[in-house]
């Protein structure tokens, strides 16, 4: 197992290098110019050509692309992700500040989603094609077809603007306000995540139950006269949870990366909004960092999924 993990970790290195090279080239070859927003985040700048050239020189933008890439790579390997062009702060610091905010949303959303999706999926799978199954499937299907940012806007309209029950955007400042204030700000973004995601999880759970119910071990359990309750919870459901555990690993990247659009709509100071702001401002050091972090998380998530799969399912072995 350890050998397997180390081999997988080693295989990530060339992949990460390729990703960094591709994104570096894409970002730097594109006709846009990071300097345009360097002085004034809204666009134009009033620098003379000489000043501009000095600035280019200072930021190392006059060097050939491969020199710039090499310098970037060296810095990253030393743990320096560079400095933001807009805020002029270390990118590492900005990310460290944003990740907890995103986690606060995504973890609560994931737990709520699972608490809803698992029972719904179990019942739908157990009573496949029943009225309950059809209604729940249809609703969740519509749920994951909605544009998440529009759903967020509609929730803001109903509960924030119309009923005035909840704040429409932002996050309760850390250390200020009561627990309830913090919760109030989280309700709408979390609801958005849950409504969009519940469908997918519910379908995995449903498919898992349906599959496990057709397995030989389930028939054997019934044949030896076990009560239906034991057959279902000990044999069917336990096995049907396996795909869910795997998908937990795969959701790692969205847990930490958040959602670009939902965080943008709610003005939630998380990773997703950091990414959108950086992209809009052509803040390429931040853009590179966000890209690399998300890609790394996807890879680690895949690995975690494979490992947990082997851990919870003794039939699967890696060597």
């Amino acid at each position: 197992m350890l050998r397997y993990i180390s081999r997988r970790l080693l295989a990530m290195i060339p992949l990460l290098l390729a990703i960094s090279l591709i994104s570096f080239i894409l970002i730097r070859v594109a006709p846009g110019d990071p300097i345009i927003t360097y002085e004034d985040p809204r666009g134009g700048h009033d620098l003379s050509p000489e000043e501009l050239n000095k600035l280019y020189e200072k930021l190392g933008l006059n060097d050939p692309l491969y020199v710039q890439y090499w310098r970037w790579l060296q810095n990253v390997l030393r743990g320096n992700l560079g400095y933001s062009l807009t805020t002029k702060r270390p990118v590492m610091e900005m990310i460290a500040q944003r990740v907890p905010n995103t986690l606060r949303l995504t973890v609560v959303a994931l737990i709520t989603t699972l608490l809803l999706a698992i029972p719904l999926g179990v019942i739908s799978g157990r009573y496949q094609n029943s009225l309950f199954d059809q209604v729940v499937s249809a609703i969740t299907f519509v749920g994951f077809s909605l544009p998440n940012f529009w759903l967020a806007l509609m929730l803001i309209y109903i509960f924030g603007v119309g009923l005035k029950w909840l704040p429409i955007m932002g996050m309760a400042p850390a250390g200020q306000g009561s627990f309830w204030t913090t919760v109030k700000y989280m309700v709408l973004p979390v609801t958005t995540f849950v409504l969009v995601d519940v469908g997918g999880w519910m379908r995995y759970q449903r498919a898992g139950v349906i599959e496990a119910m057709q397995e030989d071990y389930t028939r054997t359990a019934r044949a030896k006269g076990l009560p239906e309750r034991v057959v279902f919870f000990r044999h069917v459901w336990r096995n049907a949870l396996l795909p869910i555990v795997t998908f937990l690993g795969l959701s790692l990247s969205s847990l930490i990366g958040g959602s670009f659009l939902v965080e943008f709509v709610f003005a939630w100071p998380g990773m997703g909004r950091l990414g959108v702001e950086a992209a809009l401002a052509r803040d390429y050091t931040v853009v590179m960092a966000v890209t690399m972090l998300s890609s790394l998380l996807v890879m680690i998530g895949n690995l975690v999924a494979d490992i947990t799969y082997a851990l919870v399912d003794p039939r699967i072995r890696y060597d």
Binding site: P14, L26, S145, P147, Y157
Partner: protein
């Protein structure tokens, strides 16, 4: 299923088989597709939306870009839905119903063309990788891995922010970044097909690799490919709407369902219809496409687990 039911259904099936002439695979697929009611409904809704997009100039009651501050706004405020403006107007007094209809053109064509680009690249790369195997396969699959790890929406966002956003850029970028899953599907399919006798026969007749891939293998991956395609379109529509919402997609005054939502956070309190309708149409199109894709998967790829 009890034995008696099984016998009865088999008897019924053979009776039906006797009554009707044998079905081709496509007829069977059509039959299976029609069994799925929601898929049929999805198709119907999409046809309506498509007709709306094609005949936009005939249906739209107003010019979608006609700015009419005097008749279309009330002292600079947009008008709510009424009998003259069915879906209301926006801040420039433009008729929202007409903009939605013209927006259908943009949103649907972005969805289809982006899907077309993704499918073409994915099919060729997947087909070549699967058939040739070896180092070519290895190289293509590593590129696919890279594409699957990079966050697609963020990549698109970045590229769009660096270039001058336009509808063609949107189509190209969504298509160019979305082929990886299709390449995997096609490759897996080709791997299982290339051991078939007809491929052997073609090869022994001296057919080139290109001919075998394009004439023998790819047409036989049509089923999974159509399924993948139908599930790509709604993704592309959602991506376009997200991009345009952020102002990095289709540029005004050209209307797309996404860019009609641009800056709409500001209007939520005063003009709900400006936020509600575009999103409703996006949801309608995406839901219908997802239902259609689901039905196609049942029809064309019966082995796949739903």
């Amino acid at each position: 299923m009890t034995d008696r039911m099984l016998v009865r259904s088999l008897a019924l099936r053979s009776e039906l088989a006797l009554r009707r002439p044998a079905k081709t695979p496509w007829q069977l697929a059509l039959y299976r597709f029609r069994q799925r009611k929601v898929a049929v409904w999805g198709t119907f809704v999409l046809l309506v939306l498509a007709l709306m997009a094609i005949f936009a100039p005939l249906i739209a009651p107003y010019d979608p870009n006609l700015i009419d501050l005097a008749g279309g706004t009330k002292g600079g405020r947009p008008l709510p839905p009424s009998s003259t403006h069915w879906l209301g107007t926006d801040y420039l007094g433009r008729d929202y119903f007409s903009r939605i209809i013209y927006g259908a053109r943009i949103s649907l064509s972005v969805g289809f063309i982006a899907m077309g680009i993704a499918i073409s690249i994915g099919a060729v790369l997947g087909g070549v990788a699967g058939y040739l195997g070896g180092s070519v396969d290895n190289l293509i699959m590593r590129i696919t891995d890279v594409m699957l790890c990079i966050p697609q929406f963020f990549l698109i966002l970045t590229v769009q922010s660096m270039t001058k956003p336009s509808i063609y850029n949107v189509m190209a970028v969504i298509g160019l970044t979305g082929w990886a899953t299709i390449a995997r599907v096609v490759r897996a399919e080709v791997l299982s097909l290339k051991a078939r006798d007809y491929v052997m026969a073609a090869r022994s007749l001296g057919a080139s690799s290109t001919r075998i891939i394009f004439r023998h293998l790819l047409p036989n991956t049509m089923g999974p490919m159509i399924v993948a395609a139908s599930l790509r379109v709604p993704g592309a529509i959602l991506t376009e709407s997200g991009l345009s919402f952020l102002g990095l997609g289709v540029q005004p005054p050209q209307a797309s369902w996404g860019n009609m939502l641009q800056g709409s956070t500001k209007y939520l309190g005063t003009a709900w219809w400006m936020v509600f309708w575009p999103g409703l149409f996006i949801s309608l199109a995406v839901t219908s496409f997802n239902f259609l894709g689901d039905g196609l998967r049942d029809a064309l790829d019966p082995r796949a687990l739903r």
